[in-house]
Symmetry: C3
Subunit: 137 residues, 3 copies
């Protein structure tokens, strides 16, 4: 059992690659086999595993979600913090607050093209708290 | 290792806050550090982590999903149990059947504004089975 | 702690029921109580838990996602591998890369109507790598 806290400063809506920080936490834990759990302590930012090769994948994800979950939707009552507040909550529900990834032979066992990203859904910069927990033998 | 079964009676489509019951299971387990896993044994109800402050967030989530995944969609073949049957399955796929949350210093380590909700997608009341599993040291 | 690798050959877009293979891995592990984690090492295929009774549920899921996340969307820049490439990534983000299911009394504790499916999002056949990890006592 090993637990590590991360703080990630985002620059507003978009993706921050945290793969290296999570992989480092796994290496620090010296766990041969097990699971690595990543959790974001917020309801307006997400964690996703996505392609780490072509940056256009993230550009297209942003575009798709901008169309599917637009800011300033007239549907919303929860608008006190601005037009990106409720859309950020909906994006959080449609994606993930936590990820769990296998550990094999002491390392984070991601696929070749898989990267771990913090997805900031608010338009302004935020500091986001993340907890990495490692369970194994 | 600690496992606890919950039964939640829903009053039809909408949210039931189960944070207190999950937090109690963690306290009962006397686990200092680890993970708390929550699982719903159904394909027409979900578990989500969302803002626990303004109830309008849940009103808006209901409104967004009513528009994105409407009942009685002419697309559906699976309609034997009524117009809310297949839409409930789609909502389940777009959200989550299970949540995993870190345990730190013996307590469920949610963010300040994070609550755990059972989201009933069927329009009539149901009894939903949930299993809470705690792994840690 | 027990870990097993699976390879699943898909025949293009659609669902492969892997419940039996995952349940077998749990039985092999002789874990009385714990968690079973299933992870797909790709960003254009997903894992979902859905109804295992009426096959029309999967037909309708395919139809819903074909409308929500169409192939060849003019929005996309990431199109080198064809019209189903970026839509596959979006579908992966809207569903799940990993599932975690409780183990009770030595067996995978799914609900009566819950099956585990690999959802191939690419239109051509692929071989998909899956890791099953079992943690428990």
């Amino acid at each position: 059992m090993h637990q590590q806290k991360l703080k990630v400063n985002t620059s507003g809506r978009g993706f921050t690659n945290i793969t290296q920080q999570v992989a480092q936490a796994v290496d620090d834990a010296t766990t041969h086999q097990g699971l690595c759990h990543v959790f974001v302590h917020h309801t307006s930012a997400s964690l996703i595993i996505q392609e780490n090769a072509d940056p256009d994948v993230r550009v297209d994800l942003n575009a798709f979600f901008a169309r599917l979950v637009p800011d300033g939707d007239s549907l919303y009552r929860h608008t006190d913090e601005g037009p990106d507040d409720m859309s950020a909550h909906v994006r959080s529900v449609l994606t993930a607050t936590a990820l769990t990834i296998p550990i094999d032979q002491g390392h984070l066992d991601l696929g070749t093209w898989q990267g771990i990203y913090l997805w900031e859904h608010r338009t302004s910069p935020h500091q986001r708290r993340i907890t990495v927990t490692i369970v194994g033998a």
